[in-house]
C-alpha cells in the first residue's frame, strides 16, 4: 500500500522570506503539506539573489524552497490582496516572519484574520516576539546569537567567543514554529478554532541553552565555553590533535580512561598520576598535552581504528566533504541529488524526519520559479469558490 505523507491535505500559505519561515515550511512540505509561497512580484524572496547562482537559481533559495509552489503577489495592491484573501479562505496555516508591525500595517493582523478566517492558524517568527511590541530591532541571526549568550558558551576557553557555524537562531525558531503549528492543528480538530503562535528567535536559542541557563541559575556564575565547563564529566573528553586531523575522544569515566591507557598505550606512571577523576578534572590542560604527545605519532584514521578496537568512543572531526561522504549519509536518503538536467543539479539536504513505513525514495521537488504556479494556484481558488 502506498504510504501517504502525514500532512497530505494541509495547505500552508507562506509569506515568509530568507531562512526561519522558509526552513519551517520546507520541513512541513517534506511531510506532505502543500506550501504556497507568496512572493514579491518583481524580486521574490530576497534569498533568490543570494549566491551562488547556478543557471540563475540561488543555491541558498534552492536549499530551503524545494517542493513549494510560488505566486507573485503585491500585498499592497488591491487586486493582489483579493487573491491573497481568497487563498487565506482555503488555507489551514499562514506563516510569516516580518518585523512585528508589518502584517498589522498590511491589514492582516491576527485579530483581523481570525475574525474572517476562524479556522486559520497564524504562525509568526520575529526576533523578540510579536507580542513584544517594544522591541522591533533588526534580528539578524548573528545579533540573536550574540544577545542570547550562545556565542559565549561556544569556544575553547574563557573569552573565546564563536558564532555557531549555522544560523541556529533562524533554524531553531523555524523548528519551534513547526511544532507550534502542528500542535495547533491537533487542537483545531476539536476546537474548530485556529490560533496564533508567536515565536521569538531569542527565546528559541535560549531554549537550546537550557543547560547553560541552569548552570548559571544554580551557581550565579556564567558558564564559559563548554570546553572549560563540564563539571559532570572528567577528561579526557573533547578534541585532541593527531599527526593529521583533529579527533574527538570521549573517555569520560574511569573504565574508558583505563581502556585508553591500554589503547595508546599510556605508561604506568601517567595512569597512576591521573587515576583519580578529580585530578583529571583539575589538570585537563596538562593531561591533554601528554595524551597528544602520543597521538601526534600517528594519523587520525589509524588512531580511530585503534581506539574503536578498544571500545573507546571517538570520531574524526570531519569537514563537510568528509561528513557527506560517510557511508550512512551517502547511502541514506538525507541527501537528494536531482536529475542532471535540473536547473540546480546539486545534492541538498532533505528532511531528517524519517517514517520507516515509507519505502519510497522521495524527491523533495524543485525550487519554484518566481510566480511559477500562478495558474495552478488561481485554479484552486476558482474550484474552491465553485464548491462553496
Amino acid at each position: 500500500m502506498a504510504y501517504d505523507l502525514p500532512l497530505t491535505g494541509v495547505t500552508i500559505l507562506d509569506v515568509s522570506r530568507v531562512l526561519s519561515g522558509p526552513y519551517c515550511t520546507f520541513l512541513l512540505a517534506q511531510l506532505g503539506a502543500r506550501v504556497i509561497k507568496v512572493e514579491l512580484p518583481e524580486t521574490g524572496d530576497d534569498s533568490r539573489q543570494f549566491g551562488p547562482l547556478i543557471n540563475g537559481v540561488s543555491g541558498y533559495f534552492a536549499s530551503l524552497n524545494r517542493g513549494k509552489e510560488s505566486i507573485g503577489l503585491d500585498l499592497k495592491a488591491d487586486a493582489d490582496r483579493e487573491i491573497f484573501e481568497a487563498l487565506l479562505a482555503s488555507a489551514d496555516v499562514l506563516v510569516e516572519n516580518f518585523r512585528p508591525q508589518v502584517m498589522d500595517r498590511l491589514g492582516y493582523s491576527w485579530q483581523v484574520l481570525h475574525a474572517r478566517y476562524p479556522r486559520l492558524i497564524y504562525g509568526s517568527i520575529s526576533g523578540f516576539g510579536k507580542q513584544n511590541v517594544d522591541n522591533s530591532e533588526p534580528a539578524y541571526d548573528i545579533i540573536i546569537q550574540a544577545l542570547s549568550g550562545i556565542m559565549s558558551v561556544t569556544g575553547k576557553g574563557k573569552g573565546d567567543f564563536n558564532r555557531v557555524g549555522v544560523s541556529i537562531a533562524d533554524l531553531s525558531s523555524g523548528l519551534f514554529l513547526a511544532i507550534g503549528i502542528l500542535a495547533s492543528l491537533h487542537k483545531l480538530q476539536t476546537s474548530g478554532q485556529g490560533e496564533i503562535i508567536d515565536i521569538a528567535m531569542l527565546d528559541s536559542v535560549l531554549s537550546l541553552m537550557e543547560y547553560p541557563v541552569m548552570r548559571y541559575s544554580t551557581s550565579g556564575l556564567s558558564p564559559g565555553p563548554i570546553g572549560t565547563y563540564r563539571p559532570a564529566i572528567p577528561p579526557p573528553f573533547g578534541l585532541f590533535k593527531t599527526r593529521s586531523e583533529v579527533i574527538v575522544i570521549a573517555a569520560g569515566n574511569d573504565r574508558l580512561f583505563q581502556k585508553l591507557g591500554d589503547a595508546l598505550p599510556l605508561d604506568h606512571s601517567f595512569m597512576e598520576r591521573y587515576r583519580d577523576p578529580e585530578v583529571r578534572k583539575d589538570s585537563e590542560t596538562a593531561l591533554t598535552l601528554e595524551i597528544e604527545t602520543v597521538l601526534l605519532q600517528r594519523d587520525a584514521p589509524q588512531w580511530i581504528a585503534i581506539l574503536k578496537s578498544h571500545g573507546i568512543p571517538c570520531a574524526v572531526v570531519n569537514d563537510v566533504a568528509a561528513a557527506v561522504s560517510l557511508p550512512t549519509v551517502k547511502n541514506g536518503r538525507l541527501l537528494h541529488r536531482p536529475e542532471a538536467e535540473s536547473d540546480f543539479p546539486f545534492f541538498l539536504v532533505s528532511s531528517p524526519i524519517r517514517f520507516p513505513l515509507d519505502d519510497q525514495v522521495r524527491d523533495p521537488g524543485q525550487p519554484p520559479g518566481l510566480d511559477e504556479h500562478r495558474e495552478k494556484i488561481l485554479a484552486t481558488i476558482t474550484a474552491a469558490q465553485h464548491s462553496s
Copy 2:
C-alpha cells in the same frame, strides 16, 4: 474563556533518558500532553545523578523533566512488563532513545507493538537511525558534532574547530522527533493507524547544516568556519573588540557601511579605500583591525548606544548572566522561577512556543521524584480497564 493547551488529552509514554528524548517530551508536556516517564526502579533516568544536586535534585534532570509523571518499571521483569503494556494500551505515543537494538531485545519492537496497539505512534531517536542497523556505535553529542562537520564550520578561521556550546545533536533530534510525532498525530485522525518515526542525530545536525552542505555541493570545497566563508555578505559583519566586551556589528551592505563611517567616525581616506564591497571582502582582516583601533577607545555599552542611534544593527556578545538579564527575557515568560520552598528553587527555561491567546502564566511543574506518580498512574490503568 480559559485557554486549553493544544495537546491536552494526549498521553505520551516516555522511556527515554538523559537529553534528546526528554527534551522532546518536555516541550510536548509544556504544550499540554501528559508525559508518563518510565524509569529504572532503583536509579531512574541516568541524568538524576548529574550535578549540580540541590536538595538531592539534579539541575540537569530538573531542566528537562518538569511537568512529567514518573513510574519506576523494570522492563525485564514480568510484573512490570504487564504494567508497561497496560500503559501502552492507553498511550498515544511512545518515545525511546535507546541504542537501535534495545527495544527489539525487550520484545518491544515496532512490529510487535504495532500489531498489538495499532494506533500507537512510536518515536525513536538514535545516533544513526534505527533503520541503520549496521551502525550501533555510541552516539554522544560530541561524537555526532564531530562526524557531522558542524564543528568544522564553527570557529574563527581555517582549522579552528569548536564544539557548539550546547548539545545540538541531542536537542535538534528532540525537536525533529516532536515534529514527526505531531505530524503523525495529525495523520492518525484519518488513518486510524500509528506509525514509527526514526530520527537519527547525525541526520538532524546535517539538516541544520543545509547551508554548508549546499556550499560544498556547489563548489566541491568544504566551507571553513562561517567567519571566513560568507561570500554573500561583505564585511564589516561579525565580532569586534571594544575597550570592554566584544560586540557584533552587522553592517553588511554599502548603506550600513556608510552609516558606520559616520557613527564611529571613520576618516575619509578609510571610507574611500573600502568603498567597494569587493575590496572589503578581500581585506576583511585589515578592515577589522582598523575599525577595532577606533572601537578600542570606548566601552561596549557606549558603542552600542552610538551605533543604534545611527541605525546600525549591533549587539554586545552577552554571557549567560547578561542574556537572562535582558529586559525582554527577564520580564517575559520564558524563565520560570519556582516557589522558594520548592526542592529546586532556581529559574529554568520553559517552552519558547508561545500562544498569545493563552494569558495565564504557566508553571512548568516540578521535576518528578523517581516513581512519584505510581499510584496515580496505576489508577489510570484500572480506570481504563473498567471503562473498556
